[in-house]
């Protein structure tokens, strides 16, 4: 059994007088101990909503999230059940996620529980700050005295305080400079491995994810369309959308070809296309894709895809082969 299990999660955003928007339309994933799972997709695909739904910040319309086999309850006005403290979150913007008027050790100590929260709180908070690479001398400072990267370290220290078993990091390195991004990404990897935690790393940046994640889940318009071990995903893609994402990444190679933008725009999530949600932008769509919605099935070797070209149980069909096939006019 995995540490964190997410089953068929659906999240609707309801606005009075408007059609509800299904931000997450049935997503499932698992995060194991010491494992880093990358969740990628374009803005508006529902990855942040799914992340917030997992930690309980967003009420699920249906579906279930369990941590160590225990269902996670949504955050309410009352204190969270002790078991749910095992699920912590790190947010994108380290400027707005810390209280500007409180000393940082106190903010880190907020997450402490039991005996640690009382007499030894300051000592434990300082240890946590040291574990994320900050020195004990800065414990009494305020957030404005720190750079973006340092603030993100403080936010991580705070998330570590209740000894979580899973951390959800939502675009935790996206707002940082390249070098600071590398520092924080490395820190998250080290902490995950040392503490045997699970890490769900949500990002729009596939190139960071390919470096730190063990598994990758790709999301498009509220659905997970492909999951694979990272190394395999880099060798070949099974879903045309994943392929489009990878081909849009600019390369540092000499004489690299220009990145390719996929056709069309992301459709309005309030009125998703019929059939496969990617079909209007898909270079290899067939008739079936326009009417029937493919579900995520295991194709081979622990890879899964939601594409009619990829039969359940495999063998996987290489996308290059699909594109050279003669297709009926769209």
């Amino acid at each position: 059994m995995s540490l964190l299990e997410v089953r068929n999660v659906i999240v609707d955003y309801k606005t009075p007088g408007r059609r509800p928007v299904r931000a997450v339309a049935g997503a499932s994933l698992e995060v194991g101990s010491g494992e880093i799972v990358g969740l990628v997709g374009e803005s508006g695909c529902g990855k942040s909503t799914l992340g917030r739904g997992i930690v309980g910040l967003q009420k699920l319309t249906s579906g279930e999230v369990t941590l160590n086999g225990v269902p996670v309850s949504p955050v309410g006005r009352r204190a969270r059940p002790r078991a749910d403290l095992g699920l912590q979150m790190v947010f994108q913007d380290p400027y707005s996620s810390l209280n500007p008027r409180r000393r940082i050790w106190r903010q880190v100590a907020d997450g402490l529980t039991g005996a640690e929260a009382d007499s030894s709180a300051r000592k434990v908070a300082i240890e946590l700050l040291e574990s994320v690479g900050l020195s004990a001398a800065i414990a009494d400072r305020y957030p404005h005295e720190f750079s973006g990267g340092q603030r993100q370290r403080i936010a991580i220290a705070r998330a570590l305080a209740p000894k979580p078993s899973v951390i959800v990091a939502d675009e935790a390195v996206s707002a940082l400079d390249a070098s600071t991004q590398a520092q924080i990404a490395n820190l998250l990897v080290d902490l995950t491995r040392e503490r045997g935690m699970g890490l769900l790393f949500i990002s729009h940046d596939l190139s960071v994810v390919q470096h730190i994640a063990d598994k990758v889940a790709v999301m498009y318009l509220g659905r997970i369309v492909e999951t694979a071990p990272t190394v395999k995903l880099w060798e070949s893609r099974l879903h045309p959308y994943t392929d489009a994402l990878v081909r849009a990444i600019p390369s540092l190679e000499p004489d690299a070809s220009a990145p390719v933008a996929p056709e069309g725009e992301v459709p309005d999530p309030a009125a998703p296309p019929t059939g496969c949600r990617f079909h209007p932008r898909c270079p290899v769509a067939m008739d079936r894709c326009r009417t029937e919605d493919p579900s995520l099935v295991i194709v081979e070797d622990s890879r899964a895809a939601a594409c009619w070209h990829q039969p359940a149980g495999g063998p996987a069909v290489r996308l290059e082969l699909l594109e050279t096939r003669t297709l009926e006019p769209r």
């Binding site: 001398a137 990267g149 400079d177 070098s179 590398a182 730190i212 390369s251 070809s257």
Partner: protein, 340 residues
């Protein structure tokens, strides 16, 4: 004569802080020129000063000429005529560069009516053409819509259309794809490339993302601590890198590191105008630094045709004895992490 010539530009703040020191760069018509560096490196302030926008209380010395006209000595009226018609600028955040309460048409036609004296109807028709040029779907109905209706990528296209309204010779693009998804970024990069081919417009492209530079820029300037660290053609700077800072920037990128290996951050903190180390500003973070780096500011030297770097050690050029190089690397503290 180049379209944009920045010659020995220095920008000082009251109180003696230096934002930019002795920076020179040129941009030719039809060229995409990149300026790279971390936050605080002076890349944005250099570009803004080229348009005659100086930070409050700052003084600039040196020369900035656009099409031969001296931008630093121009009166506000003259500057106003140049900005928006000869040069235009697009910013990072497409959410704040459009007015939320005016429709797209009103915002797009304002330029045309002020700078080119077009009548309302003509301006509206031209605005639709501009939206078509940046490949915004359904340009006519877009004109009467408000900014909140559009996604980030579409808004950035609208901001670019607005900048293109008067057919500028020079476009300054400051981190315009940083906030966008890679898929949308690819579309914007393609658009810029097409525009400079079709219209001969030059682009100054500012970003810290060297992979983006690699696919879009012809030449690259790398800045650190307000000074020029290295510049040359894109392949000179990225493939036969001579400055340790450029190398470190490349290695810190996920695209630069080997798959499955940990990323290699640059140790320490980036220099800022408030805290600029003596000598070579990069020396505290540099594994190759020697004593003279702490004392003397290195001169920007031409290493090969059009390829310049400001490094006294030049570790990747005439490589010193390998053993000696290793000694230097080992003697330097590896990752001081975060300063207290």
């Amino acid at each position: 004569m180049s379209l944009l010539e920045v010659d020995n530009l220095s920008i000082h703040l009251r109180g003696g802080r230096t934002l930019v020191e002795s920076v020179s760069l040129t941009v030719n018509a039809g060229e995409i020129v990149g300026i790279a560096g971390e936050s605080g490196s002076g890349k944005t302030v250099t570009a803004m000063t080229s348009l005659g926008f100086l930070p409050a209380g700052a003084t600039a010395t040196g020369e900035v000429r656009i099409d031969g006209a001296d931008m630093l000595s121009m009166r506000p009226k003259q500057l106003q005529a140049v900005r928006g018609s000869d040069v235009a600028m697009v910013f990072q955040d497409p959410m704040t560069s459009l007015h939320p309460m005016l429709n797209i048409g009103t915002q797009l036609t304002e330029h045309l009516r002020v700078h080119q004296g077009l009548k309302r109807k003509q301006a509206w028709a031209r605005a639709a053409e501009l939206l078509e040029l940046v490949r915004l779907p359904d340009p006519h109905s877009a004109l009467s819509a408000f900014p909140h209706r559009f996604s980030g990528g579409m808004r950035q296209r609208i901001a670019i259309a607005m900048a293109l309204a008067c057919g500028p010779k020079l476009l300054i693009a400051d981190e315009i794809t940083t906030a966008l998804d890679v898929t949308v970024q690819a579309g914007i990069l393609d658009l810029l490339d097409r525009l400079r081919r079709e219209t001969g417009m030059a682009v100054v492209f500012i970003t810290h993302d060297l992979a983006v530079m690699n696919v879009v820029a012809d030449r690259l300037y790398v800045m650190y601590g307000g000074r020029m660290a290295e510049n040359g053609s894109i392949s000179q700077v990225l493939n036969s890198t001579r400055h340790p800072y450029t190398r470190a920037l490349i290695d810190a990128l996920p695209e630069g590191a080997a798959l499955g290996k940990a990323l290699v951050p640059i140790p320490g903190e980036a220099a800022t105008p408030d805290r600029r180390p003596s000598g070579c500003a990069f020396h505290p973070r540099c594994v190759f630094a020697v004593d003279s780096c702490r004392a003397d500011v290195p001169r920007l030297r031409e290493l090969e045709d059009g390829h310049l770097a400001a490094c006294a050690v030049d570790p990747f050029g005439a490589l010193p004895d390998r053993a000696q190089l290793l000694d230097i690397a080992l003697a330097t503290p590896k990752d001081p992490r975060v300063a207290s």
